[in-house]
């Protein structure tokens, strides 16, 4: 190498690296690496959520809302979802098996009660966590309320009893301990989005932080 810029060509002297297996390389977004573990990332203590008091609410800009108890949610049509997930802290986990209720199902049930969608959504959790998403990222088979992972009830530190599951976006968008989806006419930054993270968070475009693409 003849560059005189001390490696500013970008090559890290002596770095060999470990390539992902050929069969999985195309599943790894830029800057990510595969893990077989299931790491935990949360900003605060894990909230204790009792099933008898659990509820999920969908609300619209006019103030109407639909609300379901744990039993009511569990009685809805369930789907099995196998997806790769990608955390903004760089790990990706392939073929993670989830079960839950499609957001499409909840939106249709809410519409029967006069609750209508709006272009943006603020997901709100027990413990106060929030994250914002465009409605388009939650509907048409792209997102679920998941209560089961790898065949077992979702553990509290992973977001149990139930979390939002939006596998095509960085995983902070998949709000743990979900209790409300609020439809809004305008986009409003959630918890991490206020603290420097991207408003949309598409791992394939590496939208990690405020200002990325």
């Amino acid at each position: 190498m003849t560059s005189t810029d001390g490696g500013a060509s970008g090559v890290s002297r002596g770095f060999k690296g470990r390539r992902p297996a050929a069969g999985t390389a195309h599943r790894l977004p830029p800057g990510q690496y595969e893990t077989r573990d299931f790491p935990v990332l949360s900003a605060g203590p894990t909230p204790e959520v009792r099933l008898e008091r659990w509820s999920l609410r969908l609300s619209d800009p006019s103030g109407r809302s639909a609300r379901w108890s744990w039993e009511e949610m569990r009685a809805m049509p369930r789907e099995q979802i196998t997806k790769d997930i990608h955390c903004v802290t760089k790990w990706s986990r392939f073929d993670t098996r989830w079960e839950g209720v499609a957001i499409d199902t909840l939106v249709a049930r809410a519409a029967e009660q006069g609750v209508h969608t709006a272009p943006y959504v603020l997901a709100t959790s027990y413990g106060g966590y929030t994250t914002n998403l465009p409605l388009a990222d939650l509907v048409d088979g792209k997102a679920w309320i998941a209560d089961t992972v790898d065949g077992r009830p979702l553990a509290p530190e992973h977001g149990g009893p139930a979390r939002l599951l939006v596998p095509h976006l960085y995983f902070w968008k998949s709000a743990k301990w979900i209790t409300e989806l609020r439809f809004m006419d305008r986009d409003e930054a959630g918890f991490w989005e206020v603290n420097g993270y991207h408003m949309r968070g598409d791992p394939w475009r590496e939208q990690r932080y405020t200002g990325d693409e």
Binding site: S12, T35, G44, T46, T89, Y209
Partner: protein, 258 residues
């Protein structure tokens, strides 16, 4: 002139130069970096590091910043994970004059400044000490020359769980900070120490330890907990059960950063 809508600027990738690669413990080393154009940071923030191989293959990892915002070089303390892809490279290979690509600072939540006030309670497990050390270094720098009354307004306590005496990161520096500051306490607990000379705490952080060492919930401390996930889960849940406001307990859990 009308104000243009604020378009957020991306956090730029920068080429840092390694000034020093020094040993902390058997498994950890600190890189001191010169980062041209570094915009400054808050104690508790991290950087993303990006490595590029000859064939263009790239990978990234996040590392907490160990240095105070007040100090000249940017310090990253890296724990070497034997089966890791990146940490053995950073620890074993990088030497003075090498270039390292990074961007930051990142994260606006797990941060503390003396302006936030006290009391400050920090609980660390293993290399989880790193962002908390940045807070203690910042506190020492910001309070240099402060009056006794100003120090007493931001008292700090650290409870630090390590496997053994030899694996305590920044051990001597922590002792030196305590020696010069009566408003700072550092408590060590060792979970796998087999030597007989250690007469201090010898167990994982638990309720009775926290009752004794953490500030009482009535004093409304700012709490930061950083370490492996099981340690953070246990400490944060115990503090909330003891009456601490969950909104004042900020956590950072270490996933693998190989």
């Amino acid at each position: 002139m009308t104000a243009a809508p604020a378009v957020p600027r991306p956090i730029a990738w920068r080429f840092a130069t390694v000034l020093e690669n020094r040993a902390e413990t058997r498994r950890t080393r600190t890189l001191i970096l010169d980062v041209p154009g570094w915009p400054g940071h808050q104690a508790g923030q991290h950087v993303d590091v990006r490595l590029t191989a000859e064939d263009g293959y790239r990978t990234e990892r996040s590392y907490s910043i160990a240095s105070a915002p007040e100090s000249a070089g940017l310090a990253l303390t890296i724990e070497r994970l034997d089966d890791g892809e990146v940490s053995p490279y950073l620890v074993d290979e990088l030497r003075m004059g090498d270039t390292l690509e990074l961007r930051g600072p990142i994260g606006g939540y797990f941060v503390w400044s003396v302006r936030d006030g006290g009391p400050l309670f920090l609980a660390a497990g293993g290399s989880g000490i790193v962002p908390l050390m940045a807070m203690l270094r910042h506190r020492a720098a910001a309070l240099a020359g402060a009056s006794a009354a100003e120090r007493r307004a931001v008292p700090a306590r650290l409870l630090y769980s390590s496997r053994t005496w030899d694996e305590i990161i920044y051990r001597d520096e922590l002792a030196a900070l305590v020696a010069e500051d009566p408003t700072l306490e550092v408590h060590h607990t060792l979970t796998r120490e087999v030597g007989s000379t250690w007469s201090g705490l010898r167990r994982r952080i638990d309720r009775s330890m926290l009752d004794e060492i953490a500030w009482s919930p009535r004093e409304r401390p700012h709490v930061y907990v950083c370490g492996p996930t099981p340690m953070v889960e246990a400490v944060a849940s115990t503090l909330v059960a003891a009456g601490h406001d969950a909104a004042r307990v900020k956590t950072e859990r270490f996933g693998p950063s190989g």
